[in-house]
């Protein structure tokens, strides 16, 4: 092979990979442009403030009300409650897997947790709707089992694998010298985990938590099936709610093409996109800001 030939192959390969890499950026940009062009016209009908803080969502009434405050609160509440369940479970499982479990137990447990991520969300939703909802209603004497709590529980199932496996990688990658140093200084295994290993892997764990939460806030099928779908600000943990993705999924098929309702649903999509974007930026920020560089920076 001649030198010139090698050079041109290099060049072609580089261009090819550049094209592939930029394709995803181009796609993302196109989707964003589409989302904004289809969503912005609603703000000629209602102001941004009325849209975001409006209490009533009656898109088909005459005159219609396009206020998504209850939907935003529902999304945040469902995500928050599911995070409260998923973070302790996910992180503690990760600690067990990375620090305490014997190789054999970890070999069984880890694939099992990851298999949880492979469950299609519609299956989890069906499980929540048919089994968990009647159970909650019967055992806790709730008016309905399709509520914020049930949806959060199902979303926690979905975010535990994400939180667990990314946290476990972070904990696992803490250099062994740190653990050995800590133990050598007379710390117990418990003290080593709490004082040394966790602080050293905190950026990875935080990233895991935020990625898990951004999965929960964008999840559609589960909340559509299980959250109950009442467009009101929840007063308790056991009230039915209507998160943003559920509203978009349920109504898009019936909204007249390029009507106000259609624009309002796209605008809801914009709000949802901004939330997940915010989560991702925070995750990125934490990952860089608190990155563990070498062993000396602890």
């Amino acid at each position: 092979m001649t030198g010139a030939n090698r050079g041109s192959t290099e060049k072609i390969m580089r261009r090819f990979f550049f094209g592939v890499a930029t394709a995803s950026i181009a796609l993302l940009t196109m989707i964003m442009v589409f989302l904004f062009t289809e969503g912005m016209p609603i703000f000629e009908q209602v102001s941004v403030g009325d849209f975001i803080f409006g209490k009533y969502w009656y898109p088909t009434s005459d005159p219609p009300d396009f206020g998504i405050f209850a939907l935003i609160v529902a999304s945040l509440a469902v995500t928050g409650v599911s995070a409260a369940m998923a973070i302790p479970l996910g992180v503690m499982t990760a600690i067990y897997l990375a620090e305490l479990a014997s190789r054999r137990v970890a070999g069984i447990l880890k694939p099992a947790v990851e298999l949880l991520a492979a469950l299609p969300s519609v299956v989890i939703g069906f499980f929540g709707m048919v089994l968990v909802a009647p159970f909650l209603q019967r055992v806790f004497d709730m008016p309905t089992g399709l509520n914020l709590f049930n949806a959060s529980l199902m979303l926690a199932f979905m975010s535990i694998p994400t939180i667990c496996s990314i946290s476990e990688d972070a904990i696992y990658s803490v250099p062994n010298a740190l653990r050995e140093g800590s133990l050598a200084l007379g710390a117990t295994q418990w003290e080593t985990i709490i004082r040394v290993v966790l602080p050293a892997s905190i950026s990875g764990i935080a990233t895991a938590v935020i990625l898990g939460m951004s999965r929960a806030i964008g999840e559609t099928m589960v909340v559509l099936m299980v959250a109950g779908g009442a467009a009101m600000v929840p007063g308790s943990l056991f009230d039915p709610v209507r998160p943003m993705p559920a509203s978009i999924a349920a109504e898009m098929a019936e909204a007249p093409f390029r009507g106000d309702h259609y624009y309002a649903l796209f605008a809801t999509g914009i709000v949802l996109f901004l939330f997940t974007l915010f989560f991702n930026i925070v995750a990125d920020f934490i990952a860089h800001r608190y990155r563990q560089v070498g062993e000396a920076s602890l």
């Binding site: 009442a230 467009a231 009101m232 039915p240």
Partner: protein, 276 residues
Amino acid sequence: MKIGIKTLVIALTIAFMTGGFPAGAAASENLVIKGSTTVLPVAQKVAEAYMKERPDVKISISGGGSGNGIKAIIDGATDIGNSSRFIKGNEVKLALERGAYPVPFRVAYDCIVPVVHPSNTVENLTIDQLKAIYEGKVRNWSELGGPDKPVVVISRDTSSGTYEVWESKVLGGGRVYPGALLQASNGAVAQAVSKNDNAVGYIGLGYMSGDVKAVLVNGIKGSKETTLNGQFPISRPLFMFTRDWPEGKVVDFINYMLHPEKGQKLVEETGYVPLY
């Protein structure tokens, strides 16, 4: 090269003008249907069956709502305009101004039955009671002659055609209260009601099953008979409108739609009430 393109264009033009061009022939047999999302599932099913029988006709169907369907008829933008309500006075006026004479065809009935859990002892509800329930004013079954249990109100999404009937016939144009659980389909409502002994919901007659209990409305049972004789209050006829008295393929399709063994059979399968 230039000569080649010219010959091709001429050949195509001749083929097109003499009717030898296949796409041109097929395009002339197109049938456009537009309008109500409530009529859409029936229209779709009947159109599929019709196209199987008449492969030379291509039917394109879209939704957009009753108002859009009738508007498209007036504008001549569609052959058939679906509507879940009768044409309004100002629409007739507009049509006559444009030289159109809309003809209504009743193709099916929509009958919405309130349902509760089979264990619920409530047998009958008046329209006023249903209105109070769906406006959130009645919160306990004991106020309705049932057990001392909270009422869980289940409704369809406010954008569905079924909700539209409920809003006009039960709520009298009012709004369902925000605490109602909104479900995305008739099946989901039936599922939610069958799993919750506090629940009340409403579904199309075609979705009734043994898992839920139908409630009488003003003492009248929702059925095919009470819908057709107009006794059952939560029902309405569904229409297809044509711009003028239909001809050719349009009248053929309407006849197919109204045929008791063909179109009307599919009406029943879709969950609506057939005409006979």
